[in-house]
Symmetry: C2
Subunit: 424 residues, 2 copies
């Protein structure tokens, strides 16, 4: 039974890999909740994500100033900490779900805002279901976030547009560089990007080339089995035509045997296994097969943390999803996720929609076949029309006199604990 009634507090947590704009969603949640103090009490955040809830390590966001919360909008990373911690199924680990609900009840929390990808949508749904059964009903709202862009129903996922912009801009810039050097030096540039299962981020590399600025880009998608011979033919053709080529390769590219291309069984001089990326593997193949001079880069965290070149659409949508989540909660909604609904490509228009979590949890949205060009190395017009608006507009953070962006660090003051320890 609920200990208290009336106005409930809210709990917000960040889940999984962070992005350049997940804090913009946090900003949307907290600013909107603060506007509805008649309905929502305090917003507590989980320190390091859901682990903070399990261990009752809560952060009192009411201790943060208005300007600090506003600055979340332009600060990359997860301001409260995130974690990679997937709750097991109810059958396997009912104890953890019950603990969550116990903590929520202890702190009079009636709203659970969980900001993440597919796994956290699933957790959200289960918490809502179980809480009802246990007699302490929680309104669980999922706030979409993932650079992988693989959540269903929503047109796109906050976090992705900024990575797409970063990859497209970086590929264009590096391609200009290679083009300058190609006569006597580097002819092939290889950029490794994220995306273990879906090629959304890799596809963004192809956006470096546009009608008024043609650039030879070859994309290696995780959706397309790597064929060394066909790939080398494509590289040779581009170098012949343009003098150079840029290759954008997804970390998730697999060879015919189903193994990741990055997993080449590398050994050091002492025979120890060494882990490398896929970019150097592709580079070495080009050296062996074509003897062309190459350079390679691995963007890794730089791509998802690059708030300095965030997409304005993305920042606005990230904020809007946080805001909408609170508004849905106030309307009494439960087990839902706000979505981006695209209403027009040109001019780009979108609105906020709503999806039931039962339709979101554990569904992965892959790149449609119609988005990948016939040869498997590029994107179609349909894909361009989809990606373009997501990279639209700039939203620069403020900079200090030292030439560095002013990103905020919160106080993250703890909430006094009321329960005993819990081992995760």
């Amino acid at each position: 039974m609920a200990k208290s009634s009336g106005k409930k507090n809210a709990f917000y947590a960040q889940s999984g890999g962070v992005t350049a704009v997940i804090n913009a969603s946090a900003c949307g949640v907290i600013e909107t909740a603060r506007k509805h103090k008649d309905k929502i009490g305090k917003v507590y955040a989980g320190r390091n994500g859901i682990i903070g809830a399990l261990t009752e390590d809560l952060i009192d966001t009411s201790r943060e100033s208005k300007s600090a919360i506003a600055a979340l909008r332009h600060t990359p990373s997860g301001a409260f900490g995130s974690c990679r911690y997937k709750l097991k199924s109810l059958e396997q680990n009912r104890r953890e779900y019950e603990r969550l609900i116990e903590v929520f009840e202890a702190h009079n929390i009636g709203y659970f805002f969980y900001n993440g990808g597919g796994d956290s949508a699933d957790t959200c749904l289960k918490v809502s279901q179980l809480s009802k059964k246990l007699g302490y009903p929680i309104q669980a709202i999922h706030v979409p976030k993932t650079v992988d862009n693989d959540l269903p129903i929503t047109d796109n996922c906050p976090g992705f547009g900024s990575v797409a912009k970063y990859i497209a801009v970086s590929t264009r810039e590096a391609s200009f560089d290679v083009a300058s050097m190609a006569k006597t030096s580097t002819k092939v540039f290889i950029l490794e990007v994220m995306g273990r299962h879906a090629g959304w981020i890799a596809a963004a590399g192809a956006m470096a080339s546009s009608e008024d600025c043609e650039i030879p880009v070859i994309v290696l998608f995780p959706e397309v089995t790597f064929n060394r011979r066909k790939f080398m033919q494509a590289v040779k053709a581009k170098v012949k035509q343009f003098g150079y080529v840029s290759i954008v390769v997804s970390e998730g590219v697999k060879s015919r045997d189903g193994k990741f291309l990055a997993d080449q069984g590398l050994k050091d001089a002492f025979g120890h296994a060494q882990l490398g990326g896929v970019a150097p593997v592709v580079a070495n193949m080009i050296r062996e097969d074509l003897k062309l001079k190459y350079h390679w880069a691995v963007a890794d965290y730089l791509q998802r943390a690059a708030r300095h070149i965030a997409s304005k659409s993305d920042v606005e949508q990230a904020y809007a999803m946080g805001k909408a989540a609170v508004e849905l909660a106030i309307k009494g909604k439960n087990s839902v996720m706000p979505t981006v609904v695209r209403t027009s490509n040109s001019p780009y228009r979108w609105k906020v929609g709503e999806a039931n979590l039962s339709r979101v949890a554990n569904v992965e949205k892959m790149m449609p076949k119609s988005f990948i060009s016939k040869d498997g190395f590029g994107i179609t017009k349909k894909c361009r029309d989809y990606l373009g608006p997501l990279m639209k507009g700039e939203d620069y953070p403020p900079y200090g006199k030292d030439g560095l962006p002013k990103y905020v660090r919160l106080k993250n003051a703890p909430v006094k604990r009321k329960l005993g320890d819990f081992k995760v």
Copy 2:
């Protein structure tokens, strides 16, 4: 003997690795020359650098519109093409120097603006000396450019400030990301940066941490011999204190035996030698010695092409160097290079100076010992005071509706050839 007298044409070429702002210097040269049409005829550019001069493949920049030349200021890479082609000594290859002067004479070129690093300063000097002997005196002016920041006399080199800003911003952003994830996931982030001989770029990584935003950064300089035990101690200490650490490693780091750390004799499953970067090498060491979860990135060309996050100081100085080169030429100067002279750190003030090429050619400016902290893993206040102003200010390129920067591509119309073929 000179074929023609009176107003001479100018020749401009880009040399070596390109930068985010070398075109800003080209813009400075061309715009300033256009303002002095009474003194300077046309500005010809070398297609792909000095090779364009040797093969008489000249570009007529007068065919470019005012707006196209103005757009060079915000376009990375080398708009006319660059090359890695070092002219040998006069004794070894007098033929090439004589050819240069022959081409200059055929096109009535009296001014040679060479935009590059130490090697091109040396070429500049030799062309000037030999041209006098051959009775067709050329005024040779070197325009400084190098991301390595290793030219003497000038306070700094255009191109470096923007790389420094990119590395500092990226390190700060990735560090925020790692800090969010460190509780359950990645604790060590490794970023590989350029700089085979001098640690200037690596040093910029330490600027990610500032007084109001402390970040645990360990820098591995090429100037400091790698000591695995000491390094692991430093990593452990930072992770203990902060929960995470960012490592910025120069590609030029060497181990005690004098070999590049990147050169680990990696072999693939078939025993073929594989080339990798230094970041994965450091990452594997951390896995072996400390068993901490890591991520690594290799910035490669992204760092020197990143015009989207160029430093305003750097853009202004790159332009000023091009402008000053033309002004020096008009004043009748020869065998000189404009320099940046710093007159004050705070507020940052600088002016244009001048150096004789005999003092510039073949001199490499390394990081002073006093810039590296005692433990060898960081920078001193002196270094901070030096680097800070160079990263100061933002100078964003214009963006299109597609969310991509609008970088210019020139027509690069050829000048009619007057001489026979020449084999380089």
